[in-house]
Subunit: 276 residues, 2 copies
Amino acid sequence: MTSSTPRNQRRKRTAVIGDAIKEYIASHGLGPGDRLPQESHLIDVLDASKGTIREALRGLESQGLIHTRTGPGGGAFITEVTDDRAMELLSNYFFFRPPTIHDIYQVRKQLEPTLVASLDGRLDDADFQRLESVMSFYDHPPASLEEERQQRIKELEFHLLLVDHCPNPLLALMCRFPIRLLMSLTTCQRIYDQPYPELRRQGHDYQRRLVDALRRGQVETASDIMAEHMQAAQALMEEREAMLDKAFFKADADEAGPSHEYLALSGLFTRTDEKN
Amino acid sequence: MTSSTPRNQRRKRTAVIGDAIKEYIASHGLGPGDRLPQESHLIDVLDASKGTIREALRGLESQGLIHTRTGPGGGAFITEVTDDRAMELLSNYFFFRPPTIHDIYQVRKQLEPTLVASLDGRLDDADFQRLESVMSFYDHPPASLEEERQQRIKELEFHLLLVDHCPNPLLALMCRFPIRLLMSLTTCQRIYDQPYPELRRQGHDYQRRLVDALRRGQVETASDIMAEHMQAAQALMEEREAMLDKAFFKADADEAGPSHEYLALSGLFTRTDEKN
DNA sequence: AGATATTTGTTCGTATGTATT
DNA sequence: TAATACATACGAACAAATATC
């Protein structure tokens, strides 16, 4: 008579146990670095077999909530979800519904100027030098297609550097993700793999002015420059996208095949685990 | 080649297998609904034991990428990550660094006006009626604290309804998440659990004007109204937050205790699995 | 440096549950 | 109802990693 959970609807044992562990964390006020009870103990307390416990822990681990170590004093440790993991899990959401370039810039246009505004007084000389050092990768026309591709990536890294100093973690995440998307979207790869002199020149100009304004402490101006930068980049990217679409897509619009359009994530959709 | 991957550093077997399966999905062009090879087959091909395979699959399942069914024709099936799952995984990221009210509104202020603008012509009569039906929950002063709390939730649901019609999946996700955060943040619960007449009245007024503008097809105006709405709500919420902070926080600012501030996610930080 | 103890990681055999036919 | 195909779960054994002495 398990009326305690009315329509338990075949909840999976591992899911139940996973939740139990989460609850344990919350109710015991555990935080990053704290250790969970060891497997053998969990087997006892939760009355499940080793395999089941391990599956549940693996679920938590793949969500980035814990990591495990072997050896004495080892076990499962609570961790803060890292930026990278959050990006990866988010990209899964878009795996079968890749955003368009327009979608991405619609967000960037709104958020990155705000991001810049939030940087007020948070950059020191070393930070500015890092920014300029990245910019030096694309302050000149590329000598090869390979260099051109790298310049595009570096230009996006410039924006990631700014994000690193944002004091608002929510805003930071929401700025970071579209940038990472642009780095891995295959639609973009197609664009990046072709010469596009204006994109580099224009981008570098805006960023130059942006850094100068920030150096002078004029965040308002800097924010405006970022807005223009995004507006201009969107225009160039969409224009190019339209060109390539016309070139690549054959006249036949019917492609009911099973080949899904998750072109999206080449780089992001990988490694479930990483260091440590 | 930098020293990026000098030694593989004992990648976990389950992680390797998880990636192998992801790769399998991508390289075979599989999409939602398609079935993965069955356990026994994976055991063969990937040369791992049942337990290891199962742990890897559980990892993918907890990321929302697959779900499994028993019985003949059963197995692991690829699924699109649902909105709810994405929200849950995202909330994990903020579990130990809950955003402040200011953080949240900084984002909402930028995105929700854009959201409204993207709704151009996408709402029909039934949609407007749904919006108004939600608004009817808070078109009058509350009779009890309980009703007051529910009014706050309903007011947020109004915004979620708008999000449902956004054609930009990236923007939609980024609008939805802050709203869900407000629903579950304990800081907000504290605010919601106290009488706050202006919050309701003001919110209802803005939304009334917003719907009217949308009905007339004036998305520009509607977008502006949303911007004002967010601005005003932010002011009220932050004012209240400051009041409560002053009331609750004792004079001692030192609290190096292990009691973590993941007050954040009361409702979100639950269920690893759900229907089916 | 080497031995040992501790704890997770992996495998196998077996039994049970569940959905299809 | 029975047979079948598949995931789910258990338990025991052994392997590998790592901290400590």
